[in-house]
């Protein structure tokens, strides 16, 4: 019970310390303004799931102990896709955001295979295809560090309790001041609420359950479509059943790329600007595992 902990002038001075040279993923924990001497924040519990694609990528970067500024894209992409498969195996809905990131990774990977474009005058070299992603990861990592600190402070703060709110004190319930809020405000509140609920001018939205997305399922679906359109071939545009969410488009495109890469589908375009047609590669009818028959 030192007098230090309750003196607010000291509390104010206990501002977070800065330490600019911390290693990736390791953040010094600044003291909470409420921190009593000797009370360390409790360790954080580890959640098994990830908070999105950036969280997953940072995890893979740390787990592989690779330099965030020199990410081995091929390797990390491979592990990322494996993790996505794992999510599906756990019967978790793989959110569209993971799929979008997969597309980004694959794009970066392919750009890194290409020779770099000629550098503009006066510049040493072209931009690293990974630069934008690295910037995002770094920014996100900053906030993760802040979250760790805040989590500790939350824990400390929860060790102290306050008096029930003013209105809980029976002795001191005074008549509420007249005109504190207007009936108009009340009316607005309900209107806002009903508008949010979609009953005002929009029809009540039908809720469709989020479907489980799987690259493999999409590949099967697309392979079937293309096979069915044989021998004319399927128009590229026909792959996408619009309107559909952005990740749906990305997923279909990824599935198509994968089918092309595996040599199961060929894309043909007779003339520039003409519709791209997709035809099955039926050289080896035996190769129909994975449901492409």
């Amino acid at each position: 019970m030192s007098s230090v902990t309750s003196d607010s002038s000291v509390l104010a001075v206990q501002a977070p310390t800065t330490n600019p040279t911390v290693k990736a993923g390791v953040h010094s924990r600044p003291a909470s303004p409420l921190a009593a001497a000797g009370t360390a924040p409790k360790p954080l519990f580890k959640t098994p799931a990830f908070e999105g694609p950036l969280d997953l990528l940072l995890h893979l970067i740390r787990a592989n102990e690779v330099d965030i500024y020199d990410i081995p894209i091929a390797e990390i992409t491979q592990q990322y896709l494996e993790y996505m498969e794992l999510l599906e195996a756990l019967d978790l809905a793989v959110a569209g955001e993971y799929v979008v990131m997969a597309a980004t990774l694959i794009e970066i990977k392919s750009r890194m295979l290409l020779p770099p474009p000629p550098a503009p005058e006066g510049e040493e070299e072209g931009e690293d295809p990974r630069a934008a992603l690295v910037a995002r990861l770094l920014e996100y990592q900053q906030y993760q560090g802040a979250v760790e600190t805040l989590r500790g402070w939350e824990e400390l703060r929860r060790q102290i309790y306050f008096r029930g709110a003013l209105e809980n004190v029976d002795d001191y319930i005074l008549p509420v001041p007249e005109g504190e809020a207007t009936a108009e405000q009340l009316y607005q509140a309900l209107h806002r609420l009903l508008a949010e609920a979609g009953v005002e001018d929009r029809p009540v939205t039908a809720v469709t359950p989020r479907r489980r997305l799987s690259l493999r399922m999409k590949m099967v679906e697309i392979a079937r479509k293309i096979a069915a359109a044989h021998p004319n071939g399927l128009a590229f545009e026909a792959l996408f059943e619009l309107p559909c969410p952005r990740y749906g488009i990305v997923l279909a495109f990824l599935a198509l790329l994968e089918l092309v890469r595996l040599g199961r589908v060929r894309a043909e375009q007779r003339h520039p600007f003409e519709t791209i047609r997709l035809v099955p590669v039926a050289d080896e009818p035996a190769e129909t595992e994975d449901g492409s028959a």
Binding site: Y161, Y187, V204, V207
Partner: protein
């Protein structure tokens, strides 16, 4: 009585009485302190004397059903000046809940929750404590849920003379059907992550 342990118990008692905001039965205090009732009562009396001796603004009262911390009457004037400032406005959650009750009374908590899409237990407690709503019997339905109505204080708060002065709801669409909670959230089924 006032050794280190004794002081520690008194300090803990002070905390308990402070957070409770209502009379706390001796048994509940003893349970929270993991002490027997005799030791707890001794500590209460010691705390009571201590508060008086050091001229605290607070006093420890034994009233119906338990023990309660309260302000001393000589500071009523200052307290009155603070409270009349009307510092505590209704939260948005309270306002929305109140709006639903005002327009659809008598109404049960599950019915309010069907519109708001979140649980309203805490908000109802606040509104009851501020006497803006009151209980009005129970609905003849499964679980016999409590019905809520607005009070005269509600009218006073909003400067209305009676309920007929509430602005009429001009809906473009027919009266609000019970909306599934999923629609009120942003169209996605609620997940644990969203709920905290």
């Amino acid at each position: 009585m006032s050794g280190p342990a004794g002081k520690g118990i008194e300090a803990a008692l002070e905390c308990l009485l402070f957070v409770a905001g209502e009379p706390v039965p001796l048994a509940a205090l003893a349970r929270a302190l993991a002490l027997d009732e005799i030791a707890t009562e001794a500590a209460l009396r010691s705390l009571q004397i201590g508060l008086t001796e050091r001229g605290s603004g607070l006093q420890l009262l034994r009233i119906a059903g338990g023990w309660q911390l309260a302000t001393r009457p000589e500071h009523a004037e200052a307290v009155g000046r603070l409270l009349t400032r009307g510092s505590s406005k209704l939260s948005r959650a309270a306002m929305e809940t109140l709006a639903i009750i005002a327009y659809r009374q008598p109404i049960t908590a599950p019915e309010i929750e069907a519109v708001r899409g979140v649980s309203v237990g805490g908000v109802l407690k606040t509104l009851l404590e501020r006497r803006l709503i009151a209980e009005a019997g129970r609905k003849a339905a499964v679980g016999r849920p409590t019905l809520y109505v607005t009070t005269p204080d509600f009218l006073h708060y909003f400067g209305l003379s009676d309920l007929s002065q509430l602005p009429s709801l001009e809906m473009d669409a027919p009266a609000p059907p019970p909306v599934p909670a999923e629609v009120i959230a942003d169209g996605r089924p609620p997940t644990n992550a969203d709920r905290n």
